[in-house]
């Protein structure tokens, strides 16, 4: 459908679509929104590399395809390596890669494929300095295989392999800070983003494109199926993740941190507000909530210090 110019002018997101209807994501899926925004920001001259994950299915089974861009499906742990090969080949053929009018090589991998099995290839990709953008869409568990915990699953979450029981109760480890690992590579640009704030996400995608070298974005991406949450609450939950400082939005650029959201001038909302909309947290005790809150506070204070915010 053609969008009238008068409407286009008022849009806060690019009108163009390269991620079509008819995909096979669940209702309320954050990942499908995220990929749609990526292609809005980067357009058709993009090569998306997708490892084994929900997006393998979402993009469509042969002969169907929902992406209007090059799409390369690869093995679970290989995203960073395959991106490296594609980028090198494009350069060898004389293409401009990244930057204005450049071909975009984008890794689109879940949290399991990034924080766990794909961490080595990600590290190699970052350390070698390839001109490409790696996006980790973080739905905090292995959702495609049926909701198993990943390194990115938070403390207190129910998953199918942290099911509770007398001796082992829920996830007992805090969320792995993948972005800290990425920043330890001294990348030129790394950021967190959320599907609840698409303008912010698209701005970061554009920055990730402009800045030479490897860029990384960790995108908070709700999964109603795995989080046992209502399908119409995904955006609200993602917003609360930011407002509680559970998943603060920030950028790391040229060695400097900058916090985008929530405000550093007032107290973030209590973590319960984020937890209460999701069935995966309903088994947490009062003590569990306190433990998680202490972790959120600790990480938030740490981030504020890194960003030079002193309260």
């Amino acid at each position: 459908m053609e969008i009238p110019e008068s409407v286009k002018k008022r849009l806060t997101l690019p009108a163009e679509e390269h991620f079509y209807a008819g995909h096979t994501a669940c209702q309320g899926c954050g990942a499908s929104l995220g990929l749609r925004y990526v292609l809005k920001a980067y357009g058709r001259k993009t090569i998306v590399v997708i490892p084994a994950c929900c997006s393998t299915i979402i993009a469509g089974a042969w002969p169907y395809n929902t992406l209007d861009a090059n799409l390369f499906h690869t093995a679970f742990e290989t995203t960073g390596a395959v991106m490296s090969g594609i980028e090198a080949a494009l350069k060898a053929m004389g293409y401009k890669v990244k930057g204005e009018d450049g071909v975009m090589v984008v890794g689109w991998a879940g949290d399991g494929g990034t924080a766990d099995i794909g961490l080595q290839a990600l590290s190699g990709f970052l350390e070698r300095g390839h001109d490409a953008v790696y996006i980790m869409y973080d739905n905090e568990a292995y959702m495609n295989t049926g909701i198993q915990r990943s390194g990115s699953t938070p403390y207190g979450a129910w998953t199918t392999n942290t099911p509770g029981g007398k001796r082992h109760f829920l996830e007992k480890r805090h969320k792995k800070k993948v972005i800290d690992i990425v920043i330890a590579h001294e990348v030129p640009y790394a950021a967190t983003a959320s599907v609840a704030y698409p303008e912010d996400f698209i701005r970061k995608l554009r920055k990730a494109k402009e800045i030479p070298g490897p860029s990384f974005i960790q995108l908070f991406s709700p999964c109603p199926t795995g989080w046992r949450s209502p399908t119409d609450k995904s955006i609200e939950i993602a917003r609360l993740a930011v407002q509680t400082a559970y998943f603060p939005l920030f950028e790391y650029e040229n060695g400097k941190y900058r916090i985008n959201m929530p405000s550093t001038r007032k107290e973030p909302k209590p973590i319960e507000e984020f937890l209460k909309l999701q069935g995966r947290f309903k088994y947490m005790t009062k003590e569990d909530v306190e433990i998680l809150q202490r972790w959120v506070n600790h990480e938030w204070e740490k981030l504020k210090k890194l960003a030079g915010v002193f309260g």
Partner: protein
Amino acid sequence: MPIRTVMKANEAAAWAAKLAKPKVIAAFPITPSTLVPEKISEFVANGELDAEFIKVESEHSAISACVGASAAGVRTFTATASQGLALMHEVLFIAAGMRLPIVVAVGNRSLSAPINIWNDWQDSISQRDTGWMQFYAENNQEALDLILIAFKVAEDERVLLPAMIGFDAFILTHTVEPVEIPDQEAVDEFLGEYEPKHAYLDPAKPITQGTLAFPAHYMEARYTVWEANENAKKVIDEVFEEFEKRFGRKYSKVEEYRTDDAEIVLVTMGSLAGTVKEYVDHLREKGVKVGAAKLTVYRPFPAEEVRKLAKKAKVIALLEKNVTFSVGGALFQDFSRALVNQKEKPILIDFILGLGGRDVTFGNLDEVVGIAQKAIAGEEFDEVNWIGLRKEIL
């Protein structure tokens, strides 16, 4: 003018890669293959080879980066061995399934445990079901030539399959031999400017590769890999012929040696073929009717040539540096398959030897021929024999 010089097989492989002008090389060090990418990185550093060299963090990423690069539409190359090739295993299937003509040099080495860096063929033989073509070199010249040949076959529109070229660890990788380096111009004419004939990621024409295929479509995709392997049999013959015309060196999938009136034919691959041919000469002097045959191409399996060979002998002895536990060697299975429905067939006897770099001596081969002669005489024999085992330490 071609240059006549001396070099190790690893250097010959690097020279072959340089002559083929790949645009992307991604490699990770492993004994005994490390020298191949090392030498290539020198070529790149000196400006003698215009390519992107990706210093990856594992063999898994080496082959994954080659897959990405090849899928983007350039010629790619890497080298590995042993555990490194085993680590690549998962991605080898993907490369073949996507029909990407990647070429890999393999310094054939054993697999752990126990740790051993020396020669046998277990690494590449274990990859035989991945869909890749497999060539085995007898000497350093063959290592160089077969890499060029492999590129040509792999990139043929009727084939579009990846290929690996095996050459024995240390026996070839680290041994200096005379090698003729072909002219760059002659190689350019032979291989031609690289143009991807497979589906590739053109930024102007988006496609999807490696997509999910349901049971209704998966089998057909796999069948095309089968078909490509069948097609490769003919294409390999054509390329061997063209190579001989241009460079004067003759190759065949199964190379026979003094087989015409042979009762016993010793079949093997790689550098062992050199030893075996010399052994055949030695026995012929004593009047023993023995011949030899070498498989230069292992995948696609040259069943037709094997059947022709089988007609000549009473016993075919398979000398192999690999094991499929509880079955025997891989060649034993493959020969059995090629001959099982033939009305007349020779006796097949399997010999597992030379594992983990153990020398294969004339004494070992005497034992092989002794067992073959017992079989001809109608005496009992074992189908699978481990030759040269040190029973005193078992």
